[in-house]
Symmetry: C2
Subunit: 277 residues, 2 copies
Amino acid sequence: MTKARKSRPGDGTLVIIGGHEDHDGDRLILKEVAGLIPDGRLVLATIASDEPEGYLEKYRNTFGELGVNDVSELYVRDRPDASNEEHIRLLDDIRAVFFSGGDQLRITSQIGGSAIGDRIMAIYRDGGLIAGTSAGASMMSETMLVKGSSSSSFRTGDVRMAPGLGLLPNVIIDQHFAERGRIGRLIGAVSQNPRELGIGIDEDTAIVVQNEEFRVIGSGGVYLVDASGVTHSDVADAETSTTASVHDLKLHVLSAGDRFDLRTRRPIAEARSKEHS
Amino acid sequence: MTKARKSRPGDGTLVIIGGHEDHDGDRLILKEVAGLIPDGRLVLATIASDEPEGYLEKYRNTFGELGVNDVSELYVRDRPDASNEEHIRLLDDIRAVFFSGGDQLRITSQIGGSAIGDRIMAIYRDGGLIAGTSAGASMMSETMLVKGSSSSSFRTGDVRMAPGLGLLPNVIIDQHFAERGRIGRLIGAVSQNPRELGIGIDEDTAIVVQNEEFRVIGSGGVYLVDASGVTHSDVADAETSTTASVHDLKLHVLSAGDRFDLRTRRPIAEARSKEHS
């Protein structure tokens, strides 16, 4: 039982968005988020941004049109703010939090291991909704990609990682995935420890995680990079400037409607056909 | 025997370059090409380009510095040129041809099924060297990628393919691979017929093909996408504007020194360690 708890820190729902979710067209993703808010109240956490001006208005407009009229903002300028009673009180009775984009390291360095960080985890553990886009997606994973060249093959030593908030254990999440050509850096990251599954999420695309399964929504693709069957990898030996070699990676590309089991690391075939019928 | 011949149309060497090979620094790739020219004579085929001015000078300079002093140009402005005696004579006794970049469809539409096309194949069949960069790399494969969005996930119907010159059968080659975020389109291409192995080559990186094996040279990575074990793919069913789903692709990332067996579709482990010793 302890083990099951460990691999599933929350009974709630995560919506992990690859950035640039649509605000003007069909708004598939934000519509889904709106439908998952338990009580019509949402806190927009703009912590990832240095200059969060304008975010609240933008999300308030879109969510308002989707029937969610109680949207308030949580901003943390520096670390003491994250233990400040007034800030913590913003999360009282809140059951849904949406993290907007910016720098994932701002989120974790400001609220990781703080009272606010604990509250976020508690909301998720108690069945609430935590959604995040771009930096707000990256920070959900146990280990978080911080930096690393996009649009080039992985050079050992070129990927910087840091601990994420750990809402979703055993995975490394990357966002803006196809758009920024990030397959190389995600392969580099998971090859360093294949215990973690790589999840690359395209823009205007999201995974909705419940009970250690997820389904894909939105217009793009989701890439699963599984290095657990790798037969050769030189990430530990090679010079840091050398392109890495990794043999026998498994790759799945999923799109809207597809489901995936995070325990078995397998796409769920039946659910998909059911969805189509 | 007929089958073996079919899967190996030539006894020569192919150097297939992902574009932007270095001309000023260590020139690893062009040095390799220079060393493979059997008799010090090279024909530069600038056919892929609409405006080939300057190419001959550039390659003559670099190859001259590498000890290859007899570099002449083959250009074909339109299709009749490809059967023109004067043009064909340029290839008399030539045992090495280098295709520069541009548009792969220019190469195949001008010389595919022509006397010059036949001569190129004969040079390769008889043990000569055919090298090509960028468009000159793409055209080597049996089926050639012509168009398809880079830096986005594959949408069914978004990839245009055409017959290549077929120097390397059973593969689809893509170039500028990590740099232009092309994993999505290569997955899309090979998923349409997993008989063909996808080979994505980074810039300043090449594969040197001999006897149905290749080794990697240069500074970047080479991606092998093998769809033969795919358990689910909707490329035949989905709407052309829909992102495709493909489960259980196999992916290898290779780098300088790695070898790969095209018959078994496996990296060659021993050769690599030998190379390192």
